[in-house]
């Protein structure tokens, strides 16, 4: 079954390309998907009927018990057959229906096949959660297909309405499913049905399920989305809104009825909604003039009938319901396709303007007649067999409820007869009566009722049959004939459908027959037909009566009013909560942190027995100098030097907060940062100390680069009052966090996961530096995430300042004679060194801004720094260092080059685009990690290679080194991006200002390098 679903997915993805290359014929290829489902279902017939349903199981989220469970029991078999067969025919029909240059055909084909796939998945899913997933997916594809004409406002609105209504029901259904699954202790659909739980919660869950079914199957009061969904292309109406998707709700009812149909709530909901829908749909259908709307309201009505039959809960009605489900799929899909043919042939669907169509489209007229006969329940068609079985079942029951049901169904069926005849007569009547409303009918060229128009040449008249035309006429005829064929062998139908119907707990098994003899049921049937014919005969009078009758506001009007109110509520809530002030939001968050969790913590501490204290970890008992303050245990310091540095950090932090001058604040924050590095070192974290020092240095450089452009002082704001508020929130937050940090280590109840890291690092990671091995191996996914963030940040930085493109060209010396290779540039550089310059691009700077000492130092320091970076990179696995530190050192080396020699110097030092460096880095880290998958290991798992190199001896190469190189490159890329942005680009943007201020013209020394 899984391959069948996957085939749909592949076809859906390939659809745009297929339509591009094959045009409309691509639909023939796409039809393979549902055709495959049909063939599969047919091939499994014997197994299904023998009670050996094929099942497949694939673990999905084992920890939660979710699985991809598929099962083909008799009900699923019927549904799969309906979904597959109608889907195949509709796709074939599409190949002729749409214009060859119709817009968005590839997208449309993809959605339609994808829908067929998820619908097939829905009916064979045997896991409750999987069922919900497929259920929602059908809603989504229905939304996309209804909104196919996305340029039309009404199509978008219809699509949105259908989506909102069906997903609202879907949400209720999800609640029901979760309650059901949790109560039953299993997510397996068949297990829940086999052993249904009970209780109030289950009753509520079942009502929730029914709410989902009601919205999906357009039962009252959510029926209004289905007629609106007629904005979709006609093949979609035929497939989704007649044969397949709207049956999903019916399927759900049929699926759960054996387990829950005894519940009073179930019966009430099903019978009330089903009856109301049956009658309302039929009543509204009698007023429609658009052929599609007649059918749409008819579908609503039939869905009500199906709900009644399959939800009633006895075996005989269930059998009748299953028969009607199949019959309805055949006749209703067929009729919709017929409407498509008429629409294409005449350009209208208004039954007041159609006449003489039957003469020119005889095959289509035949199909329509057969399908209508089945719909109104004429013998010997499938609809008749099903309806007879239903009436027989209820008359056999003989109780009051059964009699009421017979009455309701009889009235509903009479309405069906009336609108069925209205449809058939309206579409194929030989000639028009006097037009009721002539001015309402524009005499456009699309009208082709009168003989002699091109309409004569375009359809399946025997003379001119175009190949594609065949594909438009054949599918409805096939479906209509099927509706006759299956009815002629009712015993076969009974044999196929009875296995599921007999899983219902109540009642006698029913039968499907064509002739049961002269019974009261026959009289009822005759009465239905007569009454329906009468209503059709008096249709004009009936329409006038309907128009005159008072009718409450339609459900669609109520829905719109509701949505408008929702919009207003949203606006009010937004206005009430969104003040648009960042400090306000942040302050609110922090106050909630302090008041909520902070209060809870404080309350917990107060509850501690005095002197008892929090459980102090085992090893600490007997440690010297442990102070007990209330419930807390503290040591004043880990090492005495810690206190000294903490004092420095505290002073720096307080002064930072007080500083009015930008540069001063930045430097003080830097002092706090370096203090942190010292604390790390004292704590026994050399890697952290190294990284912190490097980062702090780079931060200082970057900040200074930007701050030279910003005003030196923070703007004065007359907000003395708010300063106290901020101070209060700050102190409060600080205290709460201190409380947390003091309590957290003491309430630890588990050993840290890192107790085994030391051994694991050596055994699997092949390194001695546990922190580094943690980063590149044990928790490598975290690191992949982190460097992705770095990449995003670098891109963001560049795009915020470069504005027009991700970042500018790499600035090189003499791009005018650009055929100079880097080597030549380097030799040119060394020549310049002999001439008294120490840096290649030194001369591009203003002489006033150059410092020979700095240039000399830079020249001396650059390569050692790069070497040091490489050393850190390669030794990081066993000693402090690693990709992050190495990348930062290399970045600092570049920063020094930039500071000494200007932006061209930076371009010369790193003549690559930072995007390339970043991308390569991420690819090395994540991509190389995936190679492990190919080798059959977990992603990002390291392998230790033992190589023997003749001179060097044995070398242990750990594959995670490549990961670290990736990290190294990403960090370098980030630094280059930062330097190019805040350094080079800001220089360039500042230059016009500088020149305007009359500073020295530097153009002469630019060596023609400026390309503004």
């Amino acid at each position: 079954m899984l391959p069948v679903l996957l085939a749909h997915g592949v076809l859906a993805l390939a659809a745009p390309a297929l339509v591009n290359s094959l045009g409309r014929r691509a639909f023939w290829v796409l039809a393979i998907g549902p055709a495959g489902a049909t063939v599969y279902a047919l091939s499994q017939t014997a197994a299904v009927l023998d009670g050996r349903p094929p099942a497949e199981h694939l673990p999905w989220i084992p920890a939660l018990g979710f699985a991809i469970d598929l099962r083909l029991d008799p009900l699923s078999w019927v549904m799969l057959l309906v979904v597959g067969a109608v889907g195949t025919l509709v796709l074939l029909y599409c190949s002729a229906y749409f214009a060859h240059d119709a817009r968005g055909l590839g997208r449309f084909g993809g959605y339609l096949v994808a829908f067929a796939g998820v619908m097939a998945g829905l009916v064979i899913a045997d896991d409750l959660i999987l069922l919900v997933v497929f259920w929602e997916l059908t809603s989504v594809f229905s939304y996309l297909l209804i909104g196919h004409y996305s340029h039309r406002t009404s199509s978008r609105r219809a699509a949105m309405q259908a989506l909102l209504v069906t997903t609202a029901g879907g949400l209720a259904m999800l609640v029901g499913v979760v309650v059901l699954g949790v109560t039953a202790g299993t997510w397996s659909l068949s297990e829940v049905i086999a052993d249904p739980p009970s209780g109030t919660a289950v009753t509520v869950a079942v009502v929730c399920l029914l709410a989902g079914a009601a919205t999906k199957s357009a039962l009252v009061p959510t029926h209004f989305w289905l007629p609106a969904a007629m904005a979709a292309p006609t093949p979609v109406s035929a497939y989704l809104h007649a044969a397949a998707m709207v049956k999903a709700g019916i399927y759900l009812i049929a699926r759960f009825a054996p387990a829950f149909s005894d519940l009073a709530a179930w019966r009430t909901v099903v019978l009330v909604l089903g009856s109301a829908t049956l009658l309302l749909g039929g009543y509204r259908a009698l007023r429609q003039h658009d052929l599609k709307l007649v059918l749409a309201f008819g579908t609503v009505s039939q869905l009500g009938l199906l709900t009644l039959l399959l939800g009633y809960g006895t075996r005989a009605t269930a059998l009748a319901g299953l028969a009607l489900l199949g019959a309805h799929a055949m006749f209703k899909a067929s009729l919709f396709l017929v409407v498509g043919v008429i629409d294409a042939a005449t350009g209208t669907r208004d039954l007041r303007r159609l006449a003489g169509v039957g003469r020119r489209l005889p095959v289509t007229a035949l199909a329509a007649t057969l399908a209508t006969a089945s719909m109104i329940g004429l013998p010997p068609f499938a609809g008749y067999v099903a309806k007879e079985a239903a009436l027989a079942a209820w008359s056999h029951d003989g109780d009051l409820l059964g009699k009421i049901m017979i009455g309701v169904v009889a009235v509903g069926s009479a309405l069906t007869v009336a609108y069925g005849l209205r449809f058939l007569w309206g579409a194929f009547k030989p000639r028009l009566r006097s037009l009721p409303d002539p001015e309402g009918l524009p005499g456009d060229g699309a009208r082709k009722e009168s003989p002699g128009e091109p309409a004569a040449t375009l359809d399946a008249s025997p003379a001119t049959v175009h190949p594609q035309r065949f594909w438009m006429v054949a599918p409805p005829l096939v479906l209509a004939v099927l509706g006759l064929a299956v009815a002629l062998v009712p015993q076969a139908g009974e044999k196929l459908l009875a296995p599921y119907a007999n899983t219902y707990p109540n009642g006698e098994p029913g039968h499907l027959t064509l002739w049961e003899g002269f019974t009261p049921v026959l009289a009822v049937t005759a009465g239905i037909l007569l009454l329906g014919a009468l209503a059709f005969w008096q249709r004009d009078r009936l329409e006038r009566v309907q128009a005159a009758l008072w009718f409450p506001d339609g459900a669609d009007v109520v829905y719109r009013r509701l949505m408008r109110k929702l919009d207003r509520l949203a606006a009010d809530v937004t206005a009430g909560t969104q003040r648009g002030s960042l400090p306000f939001y942040l302050g609110m968050i922090l106050v909630v942190l302090a008041v909520g969790p902070g209060f809870a913590l404080a309350a917990g501490l107060v509850g501690q027995p005095a002197g008892g204290g929090l459980p102090v970890a085992v090893d600490a008992v007997g440690r010297d100098g442990v102070l007990h303050l209330g419930p807390f245990a503290l040591v004043p310091w880990d090492r005495p030097a810690q206190l000294v540095i903490v004092l420095v950090v505290v002073v720096a932090a307080v002064l930072t907060a007080r500083a009015r001058r930008r540069l001063k604040a930045v430097f003080l924050a830097g002092v706090a940062g370096y203090g942190n590095a010292a604390l790390f070192l004292l704590h026994g974290a050399p890697d952290l100390a190294l990284t912190q020092v490097l980062c702090e240095t780079l931060t200082l450089v970057v900040m200074v680069l930007v701050l030279r452009r910003l005003p030196p002082y923070f703007s004065d704001r007359p907000l003395a009052a708010s300063r106290w508020v901020r101070l209060a929130i700050g102190v409060l937050t600080g205290l709460v966090v201190m409380l947390f940090v003091a309590a957290a280590p003491l309430v630890r109840v588990h050993l840290p996961v890192s107790v085994d890291f030391a051994e694991e690092a050596e055994a699997f990671g092949g390194g001695h530096n546990i922190v580094n091995v943690t980063l590149v191996d044990i928790r490598a996914w975290d690191t992949v995430g982190e460097i992705s963030v770095l990449l995003v940040a670098a891109t963001g930085v560049a795009s915020l300042v470069f504005l027009r493109q991700r970042s500018g060209d790499v600035l090189r010396l003499d791009p005018a004679d650009g055929d100079r290779s880097p080597e030549q540039a380097a030799t040119a550089g060394s020549r310049q060194v002999r001439q008294g310059t120490w840096l290649v691009a030194g001369p591009t700077l203003d002489p006033d801004q150059r410092s020979v000492l700095f240039e000399v130092l830079t020249r001396v320091l650059f390569y050692p720094m790069i070497l040091f970076a490489l050393f850190l990179l390669f030794s990081g696995h066993n000693a402090p260092g690693g990709g992050f530190a190495a990348g930062l050192v290399a970045g600092l080396a570049l920063a020094v080059r930039y500071l000494a020699g200007g932006r061209y110097e930076l371009g010369e030092a790193a003549p690559v685009h930072p995007g390339l460096v970043l991308g390569t880095g991420l690819f090395l880290s994540a991509g190389v990690g995936l190679v492990a998958l190919l080798a059959g290991q977990a992603a990002l798992e390291s392998t230790i290679l033992h190589l023997y190199v003749p001179v060097l001896g044995e070398i242990h190469l750990v594959t995670s080194l490549f990961f670290d190189i990736g990290v190294f490159l990403v960090v370098i890329g980030l630094v280059i991006d930062i330097l190019r942005t805040f350094g080079a680009e800001l220089d360039r943007q500042a230059e016009p200002f500088a020149q305007a201020l009359g500073s020295h013209g530097r153009a002469g020394s630019h060596a023609g390098g400026e390309r503004a």
């Binding site: 002729a96 749409f98 214009a99 060859h100 609105r157 219809a158 949105m160 609106a228 709307l293 042939a345 001119t464 594609q468 669609d556 207003r568 009010d572 937004t574 206005a575 969104q578 003040r579 648009g580 922090l590 970890a617 440690r623 503290l634 004043p636 310091w637 880990d638 090492r639 206190l643 950090v649 930072t656 940062g673 704590h683 026994g684 990284t691 980062c695 931060t699 970057v702 930007v706 701050l707 703007s715 700050g730 937050t733 600080g734 201190m738 940090v741 280590p745 840290p752 890192s754 690092a761 546990i770 922190v771 943690t774 980063l775 963001g796 992050f884 930062l888 960090v971 930062i978 943007q989």
Partner: protein
Amino acid sequence: MIVLDTVPSGSLLLAVGVLFAAGVYLLLERSLTRVLLGFVLLGNGANLAILVAGGRAGAPPITGSGSGSGSEAEPMSDPLAQAMILTSIVITLALVAFVLAMAYRSWQLHGHDEVQDDLEDTRIARLAVADVPSYADSDSLESGPTLAEEAVTARDEVALPDPAVDLPPRGRAGS
């Protein structure tokens, strides 16, 4: 071996508290540079908090190497907390760069780097008080024909009854 002694150091607690307090104080400012500095201080405080949660100070978590560190001399500090902090330090650097770029951009556009109140929010609040829809949305009209009535006007792009279009070999060559 990893220490299980998690008794926190009072000095570090003090540092955490002060860094958070000063950080939050700056974070609630409107000048982006100060917000950024506040975030940096707060980040430093958070890093120290993680460090404290990881346990007491110890030897560097580097095995073997025989340089005195290791099991005999002094227990190791917790490497997991350190790996997390290392990640956090580098991310903070990226964040600093990003916020600086925003501050610079703000200065470029407005001449200052202050976070203003969101004008759009103010506008929505004003309109909500007046009970006026805050956006024009033809997709959610309250009146007018029902969607079912409008669906009647939907027309598919069907194959035209022109035989030239339908002849398979040449007719479709252009598409």
